[in-house]
């Protein structure tokens, strides 16, 4: 599903060259629930940006479902994002002038795939916000806003779900609810990639890729062993 080959990303900061990613190679299969773990500055968000074609690598290839997106033009990258991936952001990034339902509907409209008019509502109900459908983002709590963001991502029906620190702005209890939602998506066959600096969260993943200074330092099952969400503490 996702294949990275010798992927590097370097930034020029004045006279200094900063290496965000250094020759990363990995493969992620369909339906995998992967956590990318690492401290701030380890390159995990850059990795996410490369996979989502939001950023261009300095070297290497990003191959998604057999297509090398590093060679795609801008139009193709827009299409790729629209049809293949869905985003969940740490700061939610909901559209403030749209209600919760309309934010979700936005994703449905964007796809333009003839989804039923009530599909947005169904997705919103699935994340437990059917009752809050007509509220604006500012009328929702942080957890509710993030659930709307997840609903929006799910409404696209895209096979890859990318989440950048999805619990970063949330309290523990709310964070757990969000993780449950993400886990359920992996179980339903989507490839879920979660970026976090929280080692505890990584325990729910099938696979944990740990980054440090732009390089993979470990790749495998959680070191402390996989744990059900109910046993997490942070």
């Amino acid at each position: 599903m996702i294949e990275l080959k010798q992927l590097s990303k370097r930034y020029q900061m004045g006279s200094v060259t900063v290496t965000a990613l250094h020759e990363i190679s990995l493969e992620i299969g369909e339906g995998e629930f992967v956590v990318v773990l690492g401290p701030s500055g380890s390159g995990k968000s850059t990795l996410l940006n490369m996979i989502s074609a939001l950023d261009t690598p300095t070297a290497g290839q990003v191959i998604i479902r057999g297509h090398d997106i590093t060679r795609a033009n801008r139009q193709q990258k827009f299409s790729f994002r629209r049809d293949t991936i869905s985003f969940i952001f740490q700061t939610f990034n909901l559209f403030p002038s749209l209600t919760a339902l309309e934010n979700v509907q936005f994703a449905v409209d964007m796809k333009g795939n003839g989804a039923r008019p009530d599909s947005a509502m169904q997705v919103l109900q699935a994340v437990g916000l059917g009752e809050r459908a007509n509220h604006f983002p500012h009328e929702l709590s942080g957890g509710e806003q993030q659930r709307v963001a997840i609903a929006r991502a799910l409404a696209t029906g895209n096979p890859i779900l990318l989440a950048d620190e999805p619990t970063g702005e949330l309290d523990f209890q709310t964070g757990v609810q969000i993780l449950q939602l993400l886990e359920s998506q992996a179980h339903s066959g989507k490839t879920v990639l979660v970026v976090t600096h929280n080692r505890e969260i990584s325990r729910i993943a099938d696979r944990v890729i740990e980054l440090s200074s732009g390089q993979i330092v470990s790749d495998g099952a959680p070191q402390e062993g996989k744990a059900p969400i109910a046993e997490l503490h942070w």
């Binding site: 990034n93 403030p96 002038s97 749209l98 007509n134």
Partner: protein, 819 residues
């Protein structure tokens, strides 16, 4: 923390938003520039007029004798010389003529007026002739009795005539054109019907008095005198003495003693300067208001974007004064930049207007157009405006609780504003379609300020072009009133009154061309007289025409009443009826000349029934049936023959033929009305072009800034859309739709306010300067189209300028931005 630190920080703020800052400064500059540049126009123009009249030793009193009246020059001079307080009196002879100034390039055959002035002692000394270097010479005492002529400058400039060119007048008299000059009474050329500038169709010539007397057969006679009073003497007292003296000396003659203020040219020039200033003040104020909305909107949004930082400062314990200092510094820098640019724009604008007026009004003296108090006032406003605009949001920002200011997404989390309204106004289409509507409703205050800014620009455009539309519509109606019947007729004015069956008249009526064919199809002897209409305390000047209403080439078209040859009565204009407060069936008082002798007329008042209202918007035009001529002592007399061309003759060939015909004073094709119209519109078109350019720039800047700030404020929203794969064109389309809606709102409001301003402008002008017209207040479809193009299209398309910025957006970084 020192001042340098805050200055550095504010400089960084400016640098980060330099384009928006320059745009705000430019908006302020346009507002203050227009205000400064137009603010001192009255002072400058009035001073120039005062100086010009003084330099040409303009008369204090003028004696205007009744039409057709001539008095003996020596008797007149002797009578006036005995009046105490009178300084100088110069008798003149004013005669109508036909002027042939044709050149190799074009035929120039126009009506003219010759002013005979006393040059025997090197004069004239009252109302001197001003001749600029390179324009030939004025008269000398040696010119007395010579056929020399000085041509009025506006006419000469219009046809590019130079001293030495050929000038011929009625009687086929060739004159030696020695100079091109300006004369105080003809700073502007106003035809007898009092309509508008007419240098294209009316030539004013100055000639030695005795020469003109000789040419017109009025040896020793004059019909006009200009007088100056001694320093310290009472003008009113001298005027009374002149009236008494003339009444005693010429008891059978009608006359009127007038002052410079009664001269239409003098009146129009001064009232123009005053009324124009009112208009400029209104335009300047509207520009400033527009700039204020723009500045409030934009400065407010800049402060809003710093609000979280202000909150962090509050949390760190920085005093509020220091927190407010940073955005206020930005405001101050915008103010200084805007004011400096504004003063430069104002300076340029005042020079532009000065040059325009100097071209259109060749006064002998023009003062400086830079009016310092206006600039100081504009500079103070320019400085205050952005500071106040910044102060209000700063005051709001530092008053909130630190925790509220710090809250992430404080900009976006403020809710939906009025977007809940869309629940009641469901808009079909996808969420993309709805989003522009929601964005507009989400920030109603912000939307309102943007809409008002655009509306102000459209208001100016609509009002100004609407003024022009109304002017044109009014003149079009006048033209239509003249031309609806007998479109090709010519008015042949005679040099005095002749019996209809006299040789002079029959020679004209039966005139033939070189092949012996008659030149005229129809002919109609008529009369044209100056007079005065009055009712109660109201009175207005009128130009009265008497036609044979039963057998006419043309009769006035009536909107009320009935023309009947068997029923004596007068037909007046709708405006005259309104101003006099009369209606058909009422009686009004007509002051008119009554013939007492061959060349003597007395002014008498006659009560006369009002039988009709005509459709010409020019107030002073009145008509009667020729049957009424007997009551004026003019039965079977004529001083104007109306003719229509026949057998291949046209206006030019007729004029050329009539030039050699004795007794012909002037010939005017009725279609020449349009030439004068074009001339009158010249100044409006020139000013309009300047205002249009400024308005266009201001509307564009407001729209551009608004869009540019929108892009900044919504960058995270746009980044999210891009992250979800929404194409740039869709995002741009959404912005275009949003701007389109704002443009429509702004334009609609601007057009409505423009209509109100137009009414105000015209009503204000009609009360004073344009009292001689019945104005049709209108907005043409073209004006509306221009307003829509400006307000809707320009504003809607402005987001296209942000495409590059959005296409180069760093999406990952923007997604993480916390404002």
């Amino acid at each position: 923390m020192n001042l340098g630190f805050w200055l550095r920080w504010s400089w960084r703020d400016l640098k980060a938003r330099w384009l928006q800052v320059v745009a705000i400064a430019l908006i302020i500059a346009l507002g203050t520039g227009v205000f400064a540049g137009l603010g001192g126009q009255e002072t400058w123009r009035v001073e120039s007029l005062d100086q010009s009249y003084e330099r040409l030793n303009h008369y204090d009193l003028q004696v205007d004798f009744a039409d057709g009246t001539y008095v003996d020059e020596d008797t007149l001079s002797a009578a006036l010389s005995a009046i105490e307080g009178l300084n100088d009196a110069e008798p003149r002879l004013v005669a109508a003529t036909l002027v042939d100034a044709s050149t190799d390039k074009e035929d120039i055959l126009v009506s003219g007026r010759v002013v005979g002035v006393d040059v025997t002692e090197g004069g004239p000394y009252v109302d001197e002739i001003h001749i600029e270097a390179g324009d030939g010479r004025s008269f000398t005492s040696e010119d007395a009795g010579q056929r020399v002529v000085v041509v009025e400058k506006k006419f000469a400039d219009y046809y590019d005539l130079q001293p030495g060119d050929s000038i011929r007048v009625s009687g086929d008299v060739s004159l030696d054109y020695v100079g091109t000059g300006t004369f105080a009474e003809y700073f502007q050329i106003i035809p007898e019907d009092g309509t508008f500038s007419g240098e294209a169709s009316l030539a004013i010539l100055f000639m030695p008095l005795d020469t003109l007397q000789d040419l017109t057969g009025h040896t020793g006679l004059v019909n006009d005198v200009v007088i100056t009073v001694q320093d310290g003497a009472s003008r009113a007292a001298v005027a009374t003495a002149v009236e008494e003296t003339l009444a005693a000396t010429f008891p059978e003659v009608g006359f009127e003693v007038t002052m410079p203020e009664d001269d239409p040219v003098h009146h129009i020039l001064y009232s123009d300067a005053r009324n124009d200033q009112d208009t400029w003040n209104l335009i300047g104020a509207l520009f400033l208001i527009g700039a204020s909305f723009g500045a409030f909107n934009l400065a407010g949004r800049m402060v809003e974007s710093q609000r979280r930082q202000i909150g962090i400062g509050m949390a760190l314990g920085v005093p509020r004064g220091w927190l407010a200092f940073r955005p206020l510094l930005v405001g101050a820098q915008i103010a200084i930049l805007g004011t400096i640019m504004g003063l430069v724009i104002g300076w340029g604008l005042s020079l532009l207007f000065a040059n325009l007026f100097k071209t259109l009004l060749p006064l002998p003296y023009w003062g400086t157009s830079l009016y310092l108090p206006g600039y100081i006032r504009a500079a103070l406003l320019g400085l205050a405006l952005p500071l106040v605009a910044t102060m209000i949001p700063v005051w709001r920002a530092v008053r909130v609780q630190p925790i509220d200011a710090i809250k992430s997404g404080h900009l976006v989390a403020k809710g939906g504003g009025l977007s809940w309204l869309l629940n009641y106004l469901p808009i079909p289409g996808r969420s993309f379609t709805q989003m522009p509507f929601r964005n507009i409703l989400r920030s109603p205050w912000r939307t309102l300020l943007t809409v008002l800014g655009i509306a102000m620009a459209i208001l100016l455009m609509t009002a100004f072009i609407g003024f022009m539309d109304s002017f044109i519509a009014t003149l079009d109606q006048g033209e239509e009133a003249y031309l609806y019947q007998g479109r090709d007729r010519l008015l042949v004015q005679l040099d005095t009154f002749y019996p209809q069956g006299s040789e002079r008249v029959t020679d004209i009526v039966q005139m033939t061309d070189q092949s012996g064919e008659r030149m005229f199809g129809e002919t109609e002897p008529a009369l044209v007289l100056g007079g005065k209409l009055s009712q109660g305390t109201e009175s207005i000047d009128t130009l009265l025409e008497l036609h044979d209403m039963q057998n006419p080439i043309w009769v006035p078209r009536l909107i009320d009443g009935e023309l009947r040859g068997d029923m004596p009565g007068i037909v007046i204009s709708e405006k005259a009826a309104e101003d006099l407060g009369v209606k058909v069936g009422d009686s009004i008082t007509l002051e008119h000349p009554l013939r007492e002798g061959e060349m003597a007329f007395r002014l008498v008042e006659t009560e006369i029934p009002l039988v009709g209202i005509h459709d010409n918007p020019i107030r002073g035009l009145s008509y009667m049936d020729m049957a009424g001529a007997a009551a004026m002592g003019l039965g079977d007399m004529t001083n104007m023959v109306v003719v229509t061309p026949d057998n291949g003759s046209d206006a030019t060939s007729i004029k050329r033929a009539l030039l050699v015909q004795p007794g012909v004073a002037s010939v005017q094709a009725i279609g020449e009305f349009a030439d004068a119209l074009e001339e009158a519109l010249e100044i409006f078109v020139a000013i309009l072009a300047i205002i249009q350019g400024i308005v266009l720039l201001m509307a564009f800047l407001i729209a551009f800034n608004s869009t540019s700030i929108n892009v900044d404020e919504r960058s995270r929203e746009f980044a999210t859309m891009f992250a979800f794969g929404l194409p740039l064109r869709t995002v741009t389309r959404m912005q275009v739709v949003e701007n389109l809606l704002i443009g429509i709102l702004g334009t609609a409001l601007g057009v409505v306010l423009g209509w109100l301003a137009l009414n105000y402008l015209l009503v204000q002008r009609v009360e004073d300067q344009l009292e001689d017209f019945k104005f049709i207040i209108t907005l043409s479809p073209d004006t509306l189209a221009i307003s829509v193009a400006l307000g809707v299209l320009v504003v809607a398309l402005t987001p296209l300028l942000s495409i590059r910025k959005m296409s180069r957006m760093d999406i990952p970084s923007t997604l993480r931005v916390m404002e």
